[in-house]
Point group: C2
Chain length 246, copies 2
Amino acid sequence: VRVAGTTESVNFNRIPEPNEIQLDPNAAYVHLTSNNTIFGTQWKSFPKTGNVPLIGDMSSDILSRRFDVSQFVMVYAGAQKNLGPAGVVVVILREDLIAKGRADIPAIMKYSTHAENDSLYNTPPTYTIYLVKLVLEWVKGLGGLAAVEKRNEEKGKLLYGTIDGQGGFYKGTADPKSRSLMNVTFRLPSEELEAKFITEAQAAGFGGLKGHRSVGGIRVSMYNALEPAGIMALTDFMKEFAKKNG
Amino acid sequence: VRVAGTTESVNFNRIPEPNEIQLDPNAAYVHLTSNNTIFGTQWKSFPKTGNVPLIGDMSSDILSRRFDVSQFVMVYAGAQKNLGPAGVVVVILREDLIAKGRADIPAIMKYSTHAENDSLYNTPPTYTIYLVKLVLEWVKGLGGLAAVEKRNEEKGKLLYGTIDGQGGFYKGTADPKSRSLMNVTFRLPSEELEAKFITEAQAAGFGGLKGHRSVGGIRVSMYNALEPAGIMALTDFMKEFAKKNG
């Protein structure tokens, strides 16, 4: 692996700028993860990689917004964020690449096996796939991907607006240009207040707000399934908490 | 692969007898599949393999009967027959074998990875696992594995009794000593009658009775979830059909 671009020096608090990405023109492919669930960053547009094929892991933000799939030779995504229950992976692969897969791996691991058998080589996780279908129908009912994108942008505007609007009590950890609409990370003035925030939020019905163990702080995950009303209620709680503890 | 025993010469219509199994004492392991879904045969007891470790694929009859797990160094089973929905596999592995796994395979494919991480190295198929829990509670509610075993034996007695009791109209394809309690395979006097049987059964509410495409005939799969009343109704239909067409 050759790292083409990284913001490690600033603790991954933003997505690399186009001029920070050094592609090897002979690379077999370049890989990115479209949304970082831990640091709360997200690629807003994808880098132009010219002749170097681009592969994207979109596990944590597929189906959250529109994007031009033709920029990628391959997109893969575990279903467990926006698509359905854990246990199924969606793979979009440019057809000519199927034949380029390694031959020396087990049949079940080859994309060619699944492509040739219409994804029915083995017994697939049928019930999970059925649930993905229900989720896709739900998205259609909301008005399709464009409507979901708008819904996510509104949730983001509300939550980031609340973070920024309490006189510095909350501090978003991601650079504003790289802020994720899926995972929102921020800090409070002290770790004691963060612990208090998490406890009181839990008591008020807001669970799972503890930041990833590797970074601490607060993390609000707001995948498609989270209704805007949930963010509305949370931001009310946040304003109240800031007022009392600021 | 070295074949230690086979009944291919009789079209796999029975399980090999103990004296037909020729073990290589130096084999790393010997593998068997406890139930054959296509030919409708099932190991009633497992061969004594001495120092040669025994590994069993029990995908299609795990949780259908009691067995002495200590005969095996490893048992694995896809959930999709008796345990729950497709998409999860149960592995029972003797602890000292974990370390003997190949080192040159991806981390996710190593049993050691999953053993060391309490099966939580990756996001497991949570909802599917939850459904397996519900199935296990259902089995408990029926009276546990002993009760399920008895229930399956009674279903088998009823169905095989009906096959054998219509004056030869139905012919079980598996040797009586090897008859599976999960998949019951039989033929009718002609392929025309088999087609008629399948059509009329379907109309009467009995679906999925067509034998596996590689063998033809009729196959009744009666995994745990099939209530005895279902077999009762099917045997009534079979008696009636034999009377009319015999």
